[in-house]
Amino acid sequence: MNIVVLLKMVPDVVEELKIGDDFKSLDSDWLRYILSESDEHALEQAIILKEKYGGTITAVAPEAPEVDDALYSALAKGADRVVKIKGEWDIYRAPGLAFVFTRFIEINNLLGEHTLILSGSQAIDDLEGELVYYLAERLGLPGCCVVTSVQYNSDGNSITLLKEFSAGLRGEFEVSLPAVIGIQAAENPPRYIPIAKIRSIMKTQKIEEIEIPLEGVPPGIAIEKLFEPVGLERAEFLEGNPEEVSRRLVEIFSEKGII
């Protein structure tokens, strides 16, 4: 079984986000990048499948700050090959990424009869929707997102997966391979890798680097402006030490008939 995992870095929203002087992008001086959360789950799901069924994992990501750390970490977790797509990436919009990943898959001849392509179901900057479906359309493959479980079927030609709907409902689907699947959450939480193991991987293994010609990349929709949420009714903030605010909360709960 051959698994390709598509990864991308996104701004860490735990940090402060500042809007740039052009009011159309984030101020990069303030940004810290992390691997997109559902991509981390896609990588974990790939490793779970490799442990169960064997096969190889190729993890690929476009160049971005901190991406080397994410790719070395992928090697330490169990990826067989990691690749960085070189280039200046201002935006990571799904239609453009789908173009680049499609070229990567074609150039490397990665699409076999049983290939499973995994990526995160969604990212926090998916202004133009989900990568998985754009990629599936480009490659002419079935695509499915919001997936939380993947099993290979005994015929070797298909997978069974669980997709989340709403209100706790899930659907079970059978998808023929090759396929592009968007992982929302892996069957287990992403594994922790000690920093010492990552450091040792850095000494013995390499990140491959590749350039993809960008002619023909969809330009993406233009942002008129970015702004911080305004006009929303903010909470009334309670101030004081823990005893004071707890007393006030008890009063509020009593007034509302909750206690």
Partner: protein
């Protein structure tokens, strides 16, 4: 402006999703402002029972086929593409739900028109369609302008009141001929949530924990609070994904939609997919260390503090009050 706008009516298990009424209301306003015709596409194995209540549309286009028993994004995108081509329309609105996930991106690929995702406010201004989108977990908004009426707008659930899209009027209908294609995705079955220990959608009080709780051991702080306050412990997605609480405790897009009398959010940032599940709670109190956390835009009362400092003291105060 274009001559029309096409929206997709999402439904699951014989019930029209709230998002469909949100979109019906939003699209009705745009259609009224511009003189466009509003078409609603309703596809399923059988759809007659879903027609009453869709009267806000000028015309409901119905497609019935056994293959449409479950919503399949590939098939729905195909249908919307065909209807758009038949009517000469390139303006679409679909739901940004898990059920409808993918319809927008596939339709955008087929029609070669942009998809504008995460929309919370789509409107008509000076001959253009404008959208406000929530990015980066709701911390930053963007504004997009479409000048040529070509685009698929994907509406974030909970962005509009669904009442504006509801109607007692029976709509005008038109059948549409659709030839299903062979799909490489086969539906097997629906799996219901296990609610044997608790159904959080029926609880009056929820103490809900998020990533900010820090570690699994700290969930006991919420459990001790619930022991004196009543109700149940629920959680946002990261806590469930870590395996710290079972799936039936999840609030939000994929989890349960809850409307308790009190929703006490501990260490929850307030990402849109969580807010979707709890924004209609009667009283929302949020405790979070980050003063910029979007949850404070939805809470009635907020505390910018460390959970470990506040929650044990609050638990003790409630115990004393209750005697």
């Amino acid at each position: 402006m274009a001559n029309g706008i096409i929206i997709y009516i999402e439904h699951l298990k014989g019930i029209i999703s709230d998002i469909s009424f949100e979109i019906l209301g939003a699209a009705r306003k745009i259609a009224d402002d511009t003189g466009m015709t509003l078409y609603a596409v309703l596809a399923g194995k059988t759809v007659d029972s879903l027609l009453p209540g869709l009267g806000k549309a000028d015309l409901v286009i119905t497609i019935e086929d056994d293959s449409l028993e479950m919503p399949n994004p590939e098939a729905i995108a195909d249908i919307l593409n065909d209807v758009g081509s038949a009517k000469g329309i390139t303006l679409f609105m679909v739901g940004g739900t898990n059920v409808s996930s993918g319809i927008g991106a596939i339709l955008s690929s087929k029609q070669k028109i942009p998809l504008i995702n995460l929309c919370k406010n789509v409107r008509h201004e000076n001959g253009c369609i404008l959208a406000t989108n929530q990015l980066f977990g709701g911390k930053i908004f963007s504004e997009i302008k479409i000048e040529d009426s070509k685009g698929v707008f994907c509406i974030y659930p909970g962005s509009y009141k669904s009442e504006a899209g509801k109607s007692d009027k029976f709509p005008q209908t038109e059948k549409f001929d659709y030839k299903p294609k062979v799909s490489k995705i086969k539906f097997n079955k629906i799996i219901e949530p296990d609610l044997s220990d608790v159904d959080i959608s029926k609880e009056d009080i929820l103490v809900s924990v998020g990533r900010g709780i820090g570690n699994k051991d700290n969930i006991s702080l919420a459990e001790e609070l619930v022991a004196v306050l009543g109700g149940a412990v629920s959680a946002s997605r990261p806590v469930i994904d870590q395996g710290w609480l079972p799936l039936n405790r999840q609030v939000g897009k994929s989890g349960m939609i809850v409307k308790p009398k009190l929703y006490l959010a501990l260490g929850i940032s307030g990402a849109p997919e969580h807010v979707e599940g709890m924004k209609d709670s009667s009283l929302i109190v949020a405790i979070n260390k980050d003063p910029a956390a979007p949850i404070f835009n939805f809470a009635h009362y907020g505390l910018c503090a460390d959970i470990e400092d506040i929650v044990p003291v609050l638990t003790e105060s409630i115990r004393n009050k209750k005697g």
